[in-house]
Symmetry: C2
DNA sequence: GTGATCCCTGCAAAGGTTTGCAGTGAAGTA
DNA sequence: TACTTCACTGCAAACCTTTGCAGGGATCAC
């Protein structure tokens, strides 16, 4: 009673039943051959495997998901896949997931909070958990959605939820201190999206660092976190009279440099620019970008680990007796903060208050502190941090 | 007999049955309310919808997929998500798919043919079709895999399968003619991955164009299609003595420029460089890159359309009576070729055989403005092609 | 009043897999 | 020999939804 098909067309779906018939065992034995091999006689096992191989059998994940309640998929919601900040994170997450026999479902929201919410809903039933990267929606909405599907949040702090954070506060501080050490006193911060946690953190840290370093911080923004966003504020930056700029991210910094160039303002001779992220591109533009390196790969891996760990504790869809007790208790709510690193390249240079080069600190000018050497507090590694 | 859970934990999965009970109808009516609303009384419908909304019901796609044989997902297999060429394609595909109520499952193969095959297998049962972008595996393997799941191939020609191609042959020709028009006679082609269709097409077209233009073409490669790949051949390019280079893609071109710079070779004064793709980055490097713009967004949209069209013809998993007749016949095998466009920017300049400046002839020097550019065979649009 | 038509709804099977339980036969123990 | 243990396998329910079929009223025409 097999359906007549030529070799040309799409293969007739071969099910566990076909394998069972071919190898002369019950379907449950075939099932066990795949999901609990130790329970089946080695002899039977090889025969079943041979038949399965022969027929080209592959388990139907939808059916499996239906009964186990676990899809072995995870969702990855990204603010903007075209932002080079994300691909390394995605790659790392995918690779980590693959090691655990999970697949990753990537979706892009175009920085749109509504699309984010919609995507979480849509994904909820076909994944075991969702990684929310740089979300733009409100904390309360995130909390609410987390009741629908296990969530791990990246680049956002949400109390009660597992989060992977990058210490951009520390990074911004290091950047500001670096600029102050170079003699800059008027510094601008190019803000990113209003609803970005990173944006708020940077702003706070930069303000503190500027104040304690005796510099004045001008906040410009919010801006789109893209080259265009940076390009658009170039004129504003020039008119503001600042001599140094810390941008929300590398793309914006690069766009700004481009825009300043068009206005005849040279970087770093007239204005110093620092970015954040250390995307590959930042090594390729002229001048090469000084930037705060963020450990994107590590973030992706960590996020997957946290999600899977949480998942294992409480299998979804569990309803049988006893499920109620395990349900809703063991939520991992760990928050991981990853280090950032200031990488000094060519887009920052001495400011108007730079002291002339001198071997040992003899504090001249209006800047009587800074004991030993330039006030660069952070290790300026030559490359991005690894893990 | 409801499981006791606090409001805190993950929500108890609410099924069609719960909605049925709450609204006092049979589950089939609830089902129809969602999948065939016109079949149910408006009054009933609103009541059911209200209950569903109230309980937070969302259809279980796994169960639906099990019976309909359609997951409403499509897979998107990408050679390297970190290559800026792909994100616009992904975005376009996602958006197009979303309009048709499909989700996109993105996976990255790291340019590894084995990973590609594995991913197709893994995806086969949980998507309705797969988009294979710039595959690195063999044609015969692709054909074989296409029997397992509907496939649309992008950037590769496979007879018998629907393909979306970009006319890189035309692009390479235009680039070579542009270089010859500038007075270059020794031109290098930086090859990409050996198994790349694009690579072969470019090579063939470039060779023909060079021959008929009286230039000599040196092929260097294969190389990795990345900045690193370009960086690594810089020395080879210098020693080869050519004055112009056509690179496999923009990343490689940018890496090459970087490498030449490090060797003290100036672009475009000493060597002209042309890339392919017109990634956003190519507008931001110095010098701005002359490149062959490829319509990536259009490719993504077209590919999704072709896949869905093919899908609609033959629902997968169909087994009932009559399925055999419809199965395996109506495979769309259309092949779409999309236009490319040469975009002239600052990385190409006059070669050693350039004619001296003349009022109405070829403009020499880095002077970019010329109304009706002679010597420039292709329309030099200022921006990427739209659609 | 009878029959036909139509709209709406319920019934039940089906889809592919997992898994608790029970059954089988062989080996080991007393 | 009788009993226990053990390894393996079969049985059947369950997961959640869709869908062909049939039933139940109501409406309408004759």
């Amino acid at each position: 009673m097999t359906v007549a098909t030529s070799d040309e067309g799409p293969a007739v779906p071969v099910t566990i039943r076909d394998v069972a018939r071919a190898s002369g065992v019950h379907i449950s034995t075939v099932s066990r051959t795949f999901s609990a091999p130790h329970l089946v006689n080695p002899e039977t096992r090889v025969r079943v495997l041979a038949c399965a191989e022969d027929l080209g059998y592959r388990p139907n994940r939808a059916a499996r998901a239906l009964i186990t309640g676990r899809t072995h998929n995870i969702g990855l919601i990204i603010a903007d896949i075209a932002n080079p900040f994300f691909p390394p994170l995605i790659k790392a997450a995918e690779s980590q997931a693959r090691h655990r026999d999970y697949h990753v479902f990537v979706a892009d929201t175009n920085e749109d909070p509504t699309a984010e919410e919609e995507l979480v809903h849509a994904l909820a039933k076909q994944v075991d958990g969702v990684l929310l990267c740089s979300p733009r929606m409100s904390n309360s909405l995130i909390e609410q959605l987390s009741r629908e599907v296990p969530l791990v949040v990246v680049n956002r702090q949400v109390t009660g939820l597992p989060c992977v954070l990058m210490d951009v506060g520390q990074g911004a501080r290091a950047a500001i201190e670096h600029l102050i050490g170079l003699g800059h006193r008027g510094i601008a911060l190019l803000g990113g999206p209003r609803s970005s946690w990173t944006n708020r953190e940077m702003r706070r840290a930069a303000a503190t660092a500027a104040r304690s370093g005796g510099a004045e911080l001008t906040v410009l923004g919010p801006n789109a976190p893209t080259e265009t966003g940076g390009l658009a504020v170039a004129d504003q930056v020039r008119r503001s009279g600042v001599t140094a700029v810390l941008a929300y991210n590398d793309l914006m910094a690069i766009g700004l440099i481009e825009g300043l160039d068009a206005l005849g303002v040279r970087v770093p001779q007239e204005v110093s620019v620092v970015g954040v992220d250390d995307i590959a591109l930042s090594r390729l533009t002229r001048p090469k970008l000084t930037t705060v390196a963020t450990p994107t790969g590590a973030a992706g891996r960590t996020a997957v680990d946290m999600l899977l760990q949480q998942d294992i504790e409480s299998p979804r869809g569990a309803r049988g007796p006893g499920a109620g007790t395990a349900l809703g208790v063991r939520r991992t709510t760990a928050q991981v903060m990853l280090q950032t690193d200031l990488v000094i390249r060519d887009s920052t240079g001495p400011g108007p208050h730079a002291r002339p080069a001198r071997p040992l600190a003899a504090p001249p000018g209006p800047d009587p502190h800074c004991p030993a050497g330039p006030g660069v507090p952070t290790a300026a590694t030559g490359d991005a941090v690894a893990s």
